[in-house]
Symmetry: C2
Subunit: 273 residues, 2 copies
Amino acid sequence: MSFVDRLHERMARLNTRLCVGLDPRPEWHPAGVDLWTHCSSVLEACAEYACAVKPQVAFFEAQGLAGMETLHRVLQLAKALEIPAIIDAKRGDIGSTAEAYANAWLRGENGGSALTVAPYMGRDTIQPFLDAAKEEGGALFCLVKTSNPGAGDLQDLPTPEGTVAQWVAGWTRAFNGEGEGYGPVGAVVGATRPSELALFRSLMPRSVLLLPGVGAQGGKPADLAPAFHEGGRGAVVAASRAVEYASRGQDYAEAAARSARDLRDAINAAIGC
Amino acid sequence: MSFVDRLHERMARLNTRLCVGLDPRPEWHPAGVDLWTHCSSVLEACAEYACAVKPQVAFFEAQGLAGMETLHRVLQLAKALEIPAIIDAKRGDIGSTAEAYANAWLRGENGGSALTVAPYMGRDTIQPFLDAAKEEGGALFCLVKTSNPGAGDLQDLPTPEGTVAQWVAGWTRAFNGEGEGYGPVGAVVGATRPSELALFRSLMPRSVLLLPGVGAQGGKPADLAPAFHEGGRGAVVAASRAVEYASRGQDYAEAAARSARDLRDAINAAIGC
């Protein structure tokens, strides 16, 4: 089964559209709780509420080799728990380099995972990622309209093809081609942009939308219904700090699970699932 | 001394504008030559011809934890050899994540290095990198117009502010502010785009230009003069495969040194240095 099929199977079976983000900050951990203990405890505690897990590579890279080793273990744990993993690395580079990144994140032990990719360098730089995703049953999430305050700096520039973000949405649609169901190229659209969700939903009918920015960044579950297709399909809501650091005390895992359950319920309420 | 000052000091002292790229592909190494041996031998052999070294993080990531450990050692070696390092990672993410990447690549052991950054997500996502670069005496190279065939897909889109690439060039200029000499925000402009070099040079007078794409990608030293300021200042030419894999035999290090020397000379001839 491909990433998008495994994702939708889990969304339906557990009735959840919540993707739990892992952005570990050791300085927020209670005394004696290391990176691996925190990440693995949060993931296990939230598993039943999570349709996917999204480790943010930056926070592991920032901890050096030990951090990258922990990321590797987190991805293995997600596999053991059968939780689809979205590796949030926002990679993008020329063809031969993109192949190297694809080997790192979409093949081998990471085969079947999804990866976030950046579009600035052009379609030919996304193709090697797409080839790897197709061959390994994985997926991509291409940055289209991001959740940060300055996203519009570049993404909202008007062009003869619509805004830059709309132009990139068109690539995503073309990469998936025509047909039924979802293709392997999803799109990142910020949950902080509720007024734009319906537009991007319609521009990319075969893309799974990844909606980051709920919680700490200000996005609200109640506003996200336009991103979903009927039956609560076709989108996942990513929350990181709001779940992982719901508590900075020793009760962090239970607090994360409660926050994940509440977010799952709030999203389901918004979409009538 | 800041990165751009150390870079220019070395450019002047050794009379070279060549940045040696390290994109290691173990499958191209002669029998018995591991990643570290190849990278370190090439870097040491080319040191006298190189004003900078540019490890491409993707090729190290593709080798897993052992690859990242090797990258760490390569960056330590560059420091020992006093060769300014441009870490080619093309990172870009929301503010808190950008801070984590900046911690990984521009602070601590990597303080004083330069990092390539991607602009799609907007100026607020570059600011944390800039803060780290300023505080640590490092630098950034922002993607402006890349060297790959499909670069124009997005970068050449016309907008009311010029093309997307010209708009990003304007950010780079603004980040550096007014004044004498070079600021900490350089720009990537493909050596495969000779007709555009003069334009981007004039749009970013205080940015060091990083010109990738010489050799395997088709860029020619003879075409690159418009990227330089008087005295051969303000730009560096990156060559990776053409140097590192000038030979795939046991003579790889000597072949790399010959190729680096020849490229240095060809660049100097083009700019009259």
